[in-house]
């Protein structure tokens, strides 16, 4: 099924709430497409090294590495390092060595490029764009960061463009602008209020930071536009990953609406960890009792009742989502008995993702 979703696609973005198996799904899709002869790169933000290990790699870095997966195509994997990507971007975009060094050494940049929530989202998009431009792969699969509402990353390029583009930068970069005025006599009520609110040194540092960043305005704006263009391109497919738990379904419905509103190419939903229980009529405890004794018979009957209840809940939740999806397809992957965190596990998922 997934193969049809990804026909003529060059980018597959796996999105969804945290804890629904997004990283695993992205890896399974990438492995499956590589097994079908494609040259695929999977970009993950999963910080747990186990996935890297299970792909046969000691660890993943900010560069793609070839996975020895025994497939017809090629499977490459990388883990995004937001700080490193941001640095590389500055290195590329800076008009000259002096500006580059000034930014990389700026204390505000150093603290904030690392610590700020949101930079990871933007950098994921940035790396995706870069790899797509280079054109070495048939397909790029992106495992998006577990953002608060699973959607922050959609706004990330726009936000950065707005930041770079904002007139606040021009205030700092125009000759005789705020930076100087604050240092000077601090003209105007606004500035004096600002000084009281923030402290003068912070304003000065910000001013320096913005001024050097302002040198790169044009380059950043252009890139952010390209990234936005790539997201909306018909060669891109958004795959929504969810679990059947109530809150994940709510998040998925919300996300689906946002994708449609934004006119982004939505392919379908992968629902992981679905409780699937064989249904059969009969009195379980009564039938088992002569074979295993009353106590064990009761235990088995309880387990069966509990699991059926969970399966029924999953069914209701998934039906609710399916109604909202209209004609868009949904793939269900059952709750596998082991955690999926190695190549055999990923191959077990393959049958559900690519079958049917």
């Amino acid at each position: 099924m997934i193969e049809r979703w990804l026909a003529r696609k060059e980018v597959c973005i796996c999105a969804g709430a945290g804890g629904v198996g997004k990283t695993t799904t992205a890896a399974a899709i990438a492995l499956g497409m590589a097994a079908r002869g494609k040259k695929v790169a999977v970009l993950t933000i999963d910080p747990a090294r186990r996935l890297a290990n299970s792909l046969g790699l000691p660890e993943l870095g900010n560069e793609e590495r070839l996975v020895d997966a025994g497939v017809d195509g090629e499977l490459w994997a990388m883990m995004l390092d937001a700080k490193r990507t941001f640095d590389e971007l500055v290195e590329r975009q800076a008009p000259d060595a002096a500006t580059r060094d000034a930014i990389l050494a700026n204390p505000i940049y150093r603290e904030l490029s690392n610590a700020v929530a949101g930079s990871q989202e933007y950098m994921a998009m940035e790396k995706l764009h870069e790899l797509h431009q280079e054109g070495h792969y048939d397909l790029l699969v992106l495992d998006t960061p577990p953002t608060r509402n699973a959607l922050d990353f959609l706004d990330a390029p726009k936000k950065l463009a707005a930041f770079i583009d904002s007139r606040s930068l021009q205030f700092f970069t125009a000759p005789g602008a705020l930076g100087l005025r604050v240092v000077g006599r601090g003209s105007g009520l606004v500035f004096s209020a600002m000084k009281r609110a923030t402290g003068i040194d912070l304003l000065e540092d910000l001013s320096t930071f913005f001024r050097s960043f302002g040198e790169m305005t044009a380059g950043f704006r252009e890139r952010a536009e390209h990234v936005n263009g790539l997201l909306a391109d018909s060669r891109t497919a958004f795959v929504l990953v969810t679990s059947p738990r109530h809150d994940a379904i709510e998040a998925a419905s919300f996300f689906h609406r946002r994708l449609l509103d934004a006119g982004l190419p939505f392919a379908g939903v992968v629902a992981n960890r679905v409780h699937v229980v064989e249904e059969a009529a009969g009195n379980v405890a009564a039938e088992l009792e002569p074979l295993v004794g009353a106590e064990l018979a009761r235990t088995v009957a309880e387990a069966y009742a509990d699991e059926r209840s969970a399966a029924e809940g999953d069914r209701l939740n998934l039906d609710q989502l399916r109604r909202r999806l209209g004609r868009k397809p949904m793939i269900e992957v059952p709750h596998l008995d082991d955690d999926v965190h190695d190549l055999p596990g990923l191959r077990r998922m393959d049958e559900y993702l690519f079958g049917g």
Binding site: A17, G18, G19, D46, P47, A48, R50, P107, I108, E111, L112, A115, V116, Q120, R148, N149, F163, S166, R167, S168, L178, L189, V190, A193, M194, R196, A197, T198, G199, I200, D201, L202, L206, F210, S243, R245, H246, A248, E250, V277, E278, G282, N283, V284, E287, L291, V292, T299, V300, A303, Y304, D306, E307, E312, G313, H335, D337, D338, D339, H341
Partner: protein, 308 residues
């Protein structure tokens, strides 16, 4: 060390989808039942807490969900305005800045400012002498965003204290940072699932909390633990039955065995977490009902209260 319920602020944190909101709400209920006035805060308009505690959707105000238990959603924009007003001690000046386009651009662009004012608001809720309200709470519980974002929230004051080398932002940031890293006032409750990735992420988070803030988990709650129903012997017995059974019994036995295999993987992960973690580890049972309603939340609160 004082119990988590005796601290002023508890940060509830962990990977996405592990049940942080449920645990935070259960902890709030447990505190309220012991006669404390508690408030559970979430950030950035999530609706989970509102539906669990029956809060109004636009829950930016401190809202009493039931006697002794309050809930609110912290809105960075509002927190920013409140902070300005306090800092400038003048509504007029704050209004002036609030309407200044330059200031608007600046604060929208200044990276990490939302995190700073958000954690600042939470800090204020936990103070005895408050700035942004009059109600005094015995316990503030923060349902923090998932790991990476949560950490960015906790480290924001220190980040700003480093960036601003003098001035009111620095003073303020240092006070908040001091409160967050004082184990007498602030506790950290990790939430995890007994699975490979969440356990790894919990261990990574413990390391990061220590390295970044010299903090550790006071306790970790492992959520959704399947019941340990079958002994090895019973399992063997059931495996040997399969062929002689009618359809219902066969389905039931297969289902019980499948659940048992998942339960065993869970217990392996739980043991690994216990071995590697310094704080205490406690467990909450798997909820088989499709949705966590009031009844399930009450049961969880009772258990959380008993464990802490």
């Amino acid at each position: 060390m004082p119990s988590l319920l005796d601290k002023r602020l508890v940060l509830v944190t962990g990977k996405g989808g592990v049940g942080k909101t449920t645990v935070a709400a259960a902890l709030g209920l447990a505190a309220a039942r012991r006669g404390k006035r508690a408030i559970v805060c979430e950030v950035a308009r999530e609706t989970r807490l509102a539906s669990l505690l029956d809060l109004p959707d636009e829950g930016y105000d401190e809202h009493e969900a039931e006697p002794g238990l309050y809930g609110m959603s912290v809105d960075p924009e509002r927190a920013k305005r409140e902070w300005l007003q306090h800092q400038l001690k003048s509504g007029t000046l704050a209004g002036l800045l609030g309407h200044s386009r330059l200031f608007g651009y600046l604060t929208a662009a200044a990276p990490g400012l939302d995190e700073l004012v958000t954690i600042g608001k939470v800090w204020d809720l936990a103070q005895i002498e408050r700035r942004t309200g009059v109600r005094r709470y015995d316990l503030v519980i923060l349902d923090a965003p998932a790991t990476g974002h949560g950490l960015a929230l906790f480290t924001a004051p220190r980040t700003y204290a480093r960036v601003a080398t003098a001035g009111p932002i620095r003073r303020q940031a240092l006070r908040i940072h001091g409160f967050l890293t004082d184990r007498r006032s602030t506790g950290v409750l990790g939430v995890a699932l007994p699975e490979e990735m969440p356990v790894n992420e919990t261990l990574d988070l413990e390391r990061a909390l220590h390295d970044e803030l010299e903090l550790g988990f006071d306790a970790v709650v492992v959520n959704a633990l399947l019941p340990d129903r079958l002994t090895r012997k019973q399992e063997k017995l059931l495996e040997s039955l399969d062929t002689d059974l009618g359809p219902a019994a066969r389905a039931a036995v297969r289902t019980a065995l499948s659940e048992d295999r998942r339960a065993r993987v869970q217990r392996t992960e739980l043991r690994r977490l216990r071995r590697s973690l310094e704080g205490s580890v406690m467990t909450l049972p798997y909820v088989f009902e499709p949705e966590i309603g009031r009844e399930q939340l009450d049961a969880l609160a009772e258990r959380v209260g008993g464990l802490l």
